[in-house]
Symmetry: C2
Subunit: 443 residues, 2 copies
Amino acid sequence: MKLRFEQLPGGVVAAEGFRTGGVFCDIKRLGTGKGSNKGPKRDLAMLVSDVPGSVAGMFTTNQVCAAPVKVCVARVAKGVAQAVVINSGNANACTGRQGMKDALEMTRLAEKALGIGDGLCLVGSTGRIGVELPMKEVRSGIAAAARILGSTPEHADQAAEAIMTSDSRPKQVAIQFRLGKRVVRLGGMCKGAGMIQPGMSANGARPAALPSGLHATMLAFLTTDAAVESRALQAALREAVALSFNRITVDGDMSTNDTVLLMANGRSGAPKIGTRSPEFRKFQEAVTQVCLELAKMIVRDGEGVHRVVTVRVSGARSVAEADAAARAVGNSALVKTSWHGGDPNWGRIMDALGYSPATVSEDRVDIGYSAPGSRTILWSLKRGQPTRATFRSLCAAVAPKEFDLHIRLNLGKGAAILYAGDLTEAYVDFNKGDVTDPTTLGG
Amino acid sequence: MKLRFEQLPGGVVAAEGFRTGGVFCDIKRLGTGKGSNKGPKRDLAMLVSDVPGSVAGMFTTNQVCAAPVKVCVARVAKGVAQAVVINSGNANACTGRQGMKDALEMTRLAEKALGIGDGLCLVGSTGRIGVELPMKEVRSGIAAAARILGSTPEHADQAAEAIMTSDSRPKQVAIQFRLGKRVVRLGGMCKGAGMIQPGMSANGARPAALPSGLHATMLAFLTTDAAVESRALQAALREAVALSFNRITVDGDMSTNDTVLLMANGRSGAPKIGTRSPEFRKFQEAVTQVCLELAKMIVRDGEGVHRVVTVRVSGARSVAEADAAARAVGNSALVKTSWHGGDPNWGRIMDALGYSPATVSEDRVDIGYSAPGSRTILWSLKRGQPTRATFRSLCAAVAPKEFDLHIRLNLGKGAAILYAGDLTEAYVDFNKGDVTDPTTLGG
């Protein structure tokens, strides 16, 4: 996936007028009664704009939704924000009233430490579910983070590290592009490796028809110095998330905490754009590109993931059916283990298609493999009949770390893409944890 | 789970008037171009009644449905059968017209070898999908099996072995009970270890509302010497499968070949019963008991399964929502790996409940653990709040090889049970196979 925009260093502080930083405040220690086995890794980040700006957000549609998500849904609805405080190591989910008090206290402490207005700070949390936040550590973390904020790529690295849980590496991207006569910048960071199949909506409300699949914690924070009306910002983010974060799966589990936030502070000096501005479409495309780049980083760094497969379904009776077919394939334990084994196993793919909610006619189905983004497809099945492709050649097609799986149902015009990881022993080993050392137990 | 009926040896030949047997005819050799790495294991079984009898069947609702399933659906609809021929090592699925020809040829050859009427033999297949049957081997297997049929427990063992694929052991049960003034016998054998979450219906048609979950090859063959009208037999089997095979999951994948057949030959001499007979309910209960016993054997012997968890959901707004909640929990990769790790992790359970299609209110949910069937429940969560149960005590509750997970949604009266396996490294290792040795590649 090549960005059609110029890349920049600096992640969330590539845009003008943002400062960030991350510190270690030992959030896992009190939550578990034990020191973290992972050493003193940063676990609290802050991100602040010099001035209040417009804000947009997309949130988990899980009915069991963490306190920080509830706080964000309410505040993003107002359309204005200036900062966000984020901790890893504890999801502040299933923590009842105390959880809401703690999430709100985090925002108040951050607002005070940053000297910004009441209600202008948002909050994100990720980590184990059902454990109350160690507020003593959180308070000292917020105070410490507020003292070290800055706008260098090193500051962005600190923040991107601080929001990591099982991630093996920080995930950041930033681009710049011309919007009208001005150059604007758009950057972001994200985290997520397991409990990944987001299904987010603007207010956390479930759509009438739920996506057929299930859905992990992923957090993403985006910043831009473009000036964008909050409704236009929300429209751009909704479209971008639909085409990126909501199109990935690691393990099919949707988290209680999935959150994507986008802040626009207008510091580029470019004129404010709305949904009807001629520049809106380009801005939306930029947001989509950044979200897609970040979303793919999540799958590539998914827990135990060895191979990333782009499942491309077309010819379904509807987009919803294409999506359902892609999710059945991308979340099938048997298909995912076959990918891990380098086995093209189209029989398991047919099986998953057959039990998916999508309409499938066995003698219409085409299944093939290609290099990522390539149109040179090696078909294993055409109209339900095995082709002459040899087992050896099919194995070669699915041997690379990344490949595209093409499924044509040949029943209609519905199409969908899903970016999916394989299922490996490493995933199981990581997630079974070690009950004798609760710091190894994941969210 | 204790049978309330007297157990007998002999599996499918415990009932009067049935003969069975299993042979090795090397079905995997030609399918893969290589010898089987598993040695000369039996791979073809036959089962025949001395006289034609009534028959009932339940079949996969997978839209991609194997040729032998199609043959059975058509023949069971007539209500009469006398024999069944079954092979392992090849599913005869996704094999197009040749597959249908081969499935029909298997029945014709068996009918001829057994000297029974046209159309009275059923057929079952299990193994890799998308490979044509090696008919030369199958033909010699049918001829050989027909010569060695008998009614001893050893014959039953041969048949139960011959239908195994990744199963580590044969699965059989038989009971006897009084029906009116006569003693009748009911027995069965089954296979299944991976691609297990059956969702079967009487004719393979999908219900208007699909079960929320997905669904592996399991085959089960039951015999009784009771005399039962075919409609009553079908009613009894439908109810029994709904409460047994359709309530298990190993990996959430529903197979193209799932089949349960029940033949009743009347050789006990007991009077024929219909749905209105006073004895019908007892007969139905007996079928349910046998199916449930066999279904649990499948989960316990599931690929890589170390722990079996009975997920008991109650208080859902409807039975369908209870079922959806149980399947979300029982198929969650994160919940299943935590079971493997001996981690009570109720946070992951809450997460799965929250993304399930069932309505869940976080502050109403109770989650607890008990020994199988016990009413002494250790609650980890009551009305969404952690109880005082210690982490150590919760770990002890989920340490045994089998335990019950109690989930009360406290929103209504819907209840459902799901028998689920954990997810282990052994599952992944087994199913990734080794592409350099295609005989290791599963269905």
